[in-house]
Every structure is written in C-alpha cells, then in structure tokens.
C-alpha cells in the first residue's frame, strides 16, 4: 500500500467563458456569439497528501480552491495533468470513488431536509452499504466525541446552522471514508461551535486515521487543525510547507506598536530581514515622544493576509 492519499501531477483546469458584451445590443450579440475566452482556474498544481494528514488548503476567494476540490472528488475533469485519489482516477470512476470519500460543503447540506438526522444516517448507511456493526460503532464513536443526542431526532430544517454543519460532518464520516474534503466547514459559525467542530474533526482524524483536506478562510481552523498548509493564488501553488515555516518564510515579520504622547497607538508590520526594529523606534522617537513600545509576533492570519495581498511575489 502506498502512503499517499492524494497525488496531483501538473494539474491544470481551464474554463471556456463566453465574452459578454455590454448593454442591450451587446446582449443580443451574445446570443449568437462564438467569442469564447479561456480562463485558467488552476495552473500546473503538483501536490501530494499523505494518509492520515490534515492539510489546510488556503487561498483568497477565487484562487481555485473549490475547483481543485471538485477535481479531487471527480465532479470536474482536469484539462490536463494527473490526479490519483486513493490510487483511483476520480473523474473516471466517479461513482466508485465516491464510496471512499466524504465531502462537506459548508454552504449546503447533503442531508434530507425534512427528516430527522437519524433517518439521514440510516439512509446513508444503506446507500454506502455500511455493515450494521460498523455503523453502530461509528455512532458510538460520535457519541463519545460530541453530544449528538439532542440533534439525532431533530429534523434537519429545524437545526441551527451550527448543528447542521456538525451533522453534515458526521454524515460525511459515516461510511468511514479514506479521505474527507471539508470546504469551509466553519463558515458562519459562532466561536464555541467552531471549537466544537475543530475538536470533532481532530478526534475523527485521530480515531480513524482519515485524511482531511480542509479549505477555510478562518485562520483559527488552520492553527487548530493543520500541521501543513498549501496556499494557492490565481491557480498557482505558492506555498506548501509546515505552518511553523510559514511565519518566517516570507520574511520574519514583527508587529511594532508605538504609543504616542496623545495615547494613540501606531501599528506597523516590519520585516526583520530588511529593516531593524530598533532603527524604526529610534527614527520615530526623533519625530515625537513615545510613551510605550510593544513588539508582537505576527499571527498566522497576518502572514496569510500578506501573502494574499501579494507579499509573496
């Protein structure tokens, strides 16, 4: 058995988009237009994910994250390149591949809307042909990880967003898939629900050694769950390493906070490789009186923001 859950080699994905014209005249012209342009959503991405790993797949909106996830699940066919998920080419045997993966899209639910959660579970059990024994074991595991009793007999449409997301994650793990894709699972959730969901994902990953590929915009998720992160921007992979490396990968940044005479704080981000923090303080002190100084380590969020805003280039 190979140790790789996902292997992507030079994967590209182009979309053909009609060039729309402006105004009513343009709209009429578009009716007959053959004027297509090609948009590259994913450009030459090579990526390997090991079994049992939780990786954070990050990137600004429209970077190509969802497109990559869809290619890995088999819903989208890559324009070129090779993808293997658990040794299978996902888009060629989509149905078969689906038996071994689980998917959660944070914005929509795969559960049966008007039925109690337990009915959705039973249906998924039969749909994925899970043995009764394994099913019961899984439910037991769920019980030990989260308090599912209050939601088990509740119709999905009556659930809060948090409960629904929790249910969706449980549903995605029910058939004990080798790999689970979580697309923004904590979107729109409150702080306590977020931490519950993070604990649940960690617990399931640990118990079942499930590979988890997570896309998110919440750096709290990344800090809590991922050892390794992959960042893509405009379809190109720009970072792929440990989260520890990230902080000094693009320069060793520090946040410097200065308190002025009028009690206002001034904040600046300083790259220690190019500028000396002490120099900045001295410089500022010449201009005006400084009452207090704070030097903070940069947060993941800020590093990521810098990368998204073009700090990487």
């Amino acid at each position: 058995m190979s140790n790789e859950a996902v292997v992507m080699k030079n994967v590209c994905k182009d979309f053909k988009v009609l060039n729309r014209h402006e105004g009513l005249k343009g709209s009429i012209r578009d009716l007959f237009s053959r004027d297509y342009k090609t948009v590259s959503a994913v450009k030459d991405v090579t990526l390997t994910v090991d079994k049992g790993e939780i990786i954070g797949y990050l990137g600004p909106n429209g970077a190509g994250k969802s497109t990559t996830i869809k290619m890995m699940t088999g819903v989208l066919e890559p324009t070129s390149g090779e993808i293997l998920v658990n040794g299978r080419t996902p888009y060629k045997n989509r149905t078969e591949n689906c038996e071994h993966i689980g998917v959660v899209f944070g914005q929509r639910s795969q559960l049966w809307w008007s039925l109690p959660l337990i009915e959705s579970f039973k249906l998924l059990r039969d749909l994925y042909m899970v043995e009764q024994k394994d099913y019961e074991e899984m439910i037991e595991l769920y019980r030990s990880l989260v308090d599912i009793e209050p939601i088990l007999h509740k119709p999905v449409r009556q659930m809060s967003l948090g409960q629904r997301t929790l249910s969706d994650i449980l549903a995605a793990f029910l058939h004990n898939p080798d790999i689970v894709f979580l697309d923004e699972p904590t979107i729109g959730l409150d702080v306590s629900m977020k931490s519950k969901i993070r604990e649940l994902i960690l617990g399931l990953n640990k118990e079942k050694n499930t590979t988890v590929i997570l896309t998110t915009h919440d750096m709290g998720d990344v800090d809590a769950l991922c050892k390794r992160i992959v960042i893509i921007d405009e379809g190109t992979k720009i970072y792929d390493n440990d989260i520890e490396h990230l902080k000094n990968y693009f320069g060793s940044y520090r946040t410097l906070k200065l308190k002025h005479a009028d009690d206002s704080w001034e904040e600046m981000l300083i790259d220690e490789k190019t500028t000396d923090v002490m120099d900045v303080i001295l410089e500022k002190q010449k201009q005006q009186k400084i009452k207090d100084v704070k030097i903070l380590e940069i947060s993941t969020e800020e590093v990521i923001r810098k990368i998204y805003e073009g700090g990487a280039k």
């Binding site: 979309f15 819903v75 008007s114 039969d126």
Partner: protein, 269 residues
C-alpha cells in the same frame, strides 16, 4: 444492484412526501374543482352533439377517463426538470453527483417514495369513488394487473422524457418556458386533457404512434378495456408500443444526460 439501497431511498421518499401532507389535501381539492369544470364542459359537448355516444365513447366513459387521467397525472408528475435546474443553478448538483450511485438511478429512486404516496393517497381514493359513483362501469379483472404493469412502464417513460428535457434547460438556461412547453405537449398528446378518441382521424393516427400516448392513454385504455385492449393481440400491441418507446427514450435520455454531465464536469455547469 442492491435492493436494500433502493428500498431505503424509497422509504425516505415516502417519509418526506408524508411530511408535506397538507400538499396532498390541497391537490385533492384542486382536482375536485378541475373535475367540476370538466364535468360541465363535457356535459355541454355531449348535449350539443345530440347523441349519447360520441366517437365511440359515452359521457360516462369520457368522465371516467378524464377523472382517472387527472388522478394518474398527480401520481406520475415528476419535478425532475425543476429540481435539476434548481440544483444546477445553486450548485447542489455537485452533492448529488457525489453519491455512490449513478445519478440517473439515484434521481429516479429518490422520486419513487413520492409516487407510492401519491398512488395510495390520490389515485386509489379517486378510483374507489369513481367505481362507487358509476356502479361498476370499470371492468374488474385481469385488466387491473395489466393496468399496473402499464402504469409502471408509463412511469419509466415519463421519467425518461423528463431526463431528456432537463439537460435542454441546462443549455437554454430557461427552465420555466421549456417545462411549460413539455407539460403542454405531454398533456395534450397523451390524452390526459382530451381523450384521444376525440382527435381528428389523421391526428389520432400520428399521435397513436408517439411516446406521449404511452404515458396516459395506454394505461387508461387498458384499465377501461378500450383501444382493443380487451383482446390479447390488442393488449400485446399496446405493450409493444410502450416497450419500444421505453427503449428508445432510455437510450436518448442516456445520451442527453451524458452530454449534460460532460458539460457539468468539463465546464463546471
């Protein structure tokens, strides 16, 4: 093929359909209003024709036919076109494509629960009422069994028509228009709104070979012992027509869907 899977999906479908029980009562009520209208309309038609039997059908025959056609319509009605175009627009189709079952099969079975509920709660009561009111105008015998077989075939044919129209909506991006066109064509040419016996000679000949007839007219004719279904050769003819169209439409539906799924997977819908 795993029967447990299919039963499980049907079971969930029944539970979901029963959840919207109010909708079923509203359907029954709407049918009642529609049937009152149909009753007076045809009463006027028969009165103006001056004879009791028009085109080989008595007033009672016509009424039974139309009432049962309405009940059958409620039972056969599918919303594949609506549901699919909505899920393509919202992107929910991705989740359906990620089920460990072929999409076409999964979609079909996700409707069966609703069919079962509609059959039991609208078709059977209507049938019983018609039987009591007409005091046995519907022959009772083997024709009931043939009717059930023909209805299952009609269900499959109807599903394949839906599966052909749904991908068209994907290309035109206009669901409402296409769906109305489909609905009107099916209802008119299948004999659900006007019994085919009332069509002009030439039109009837053409319509009798089209697939739409296989959805409403054939099951009803078999039930009522019309269109030669009271003889073995007539019955076999009707079933042969259904089978032929089922095969043709299944292949065509497959082609249309495969083309659509290609568009979804290549261009993201």
């Amino acid at each position: 093929m795993n029967p447990k899977r299919l039963l499980s999906i049907t079971r969930a479908g029944i539970m979901e359909a029963l959840h919207f029980r109010l909708g079923i009562f509203v359907t029954l009520f709407a049918n009642l209003i529609y049937l009152v209208l149909v009753y007076y309309l045809w009463k006027a038609i028969y009165a103006s024709s001056g004879s009791d039997v028009v085109n080989g059908m008595s007033f009672t025959d016509t009424m039974i036919y139309l009432i049962l056609a309405t009940a059958l319509f409620n039972f056969l009605e599918m919303f594949v076109v609506w549901d699919m175009s909505r899920s393509i627009q919202s992107g929910k189709i991705v989740l359906d494509l990620l089920k460990p079952m072929r999409f076409r099969k999964y979609t079909f079975w996700s409707y069966t629960g609703n069919h079962v509920v509609q059959f039991v709660l609208t078709f059977i009561p209507t049938f019983i009422v018609v039987m009591i009111v007409t005091k046995g105008a519907i022959p009772m015998g083997l024709n009931l069994l043939w009717f059930i077989i023909a209805t299952v075939m009609a269900l499959l044919i109807n599903y394949n028509i839906e599966m052909m129209v749904a991908p068209i909506c994907l290309f035109t991006e206009s669901t409402w228009g296409i769906n109305i066109v489909k609905e009107t064509i099916v209802l008119l040419l299948s004999g659900a709104s006007i019994p085919l016996a009332f069509f002009p000679e030439k039109a009837r000949l053409i319509v009798s070979y089209l697939p739409f007839r296989a959805v409403y007219d054939i099951p009803l004719s078999i039930l009522l012992g019309k269109s030669g279904s009271d003889t073995w050769s007539g019955l076999i003819n009707l079933f042969a027509l259904q089978c032929a169209w089922l095969i043709v439409l299944t292949i065509a539906g497959n082609l249309f869907w495969n083309h659509a799924v290609k568009k979804i997977t290549v261009n993201g819908g």
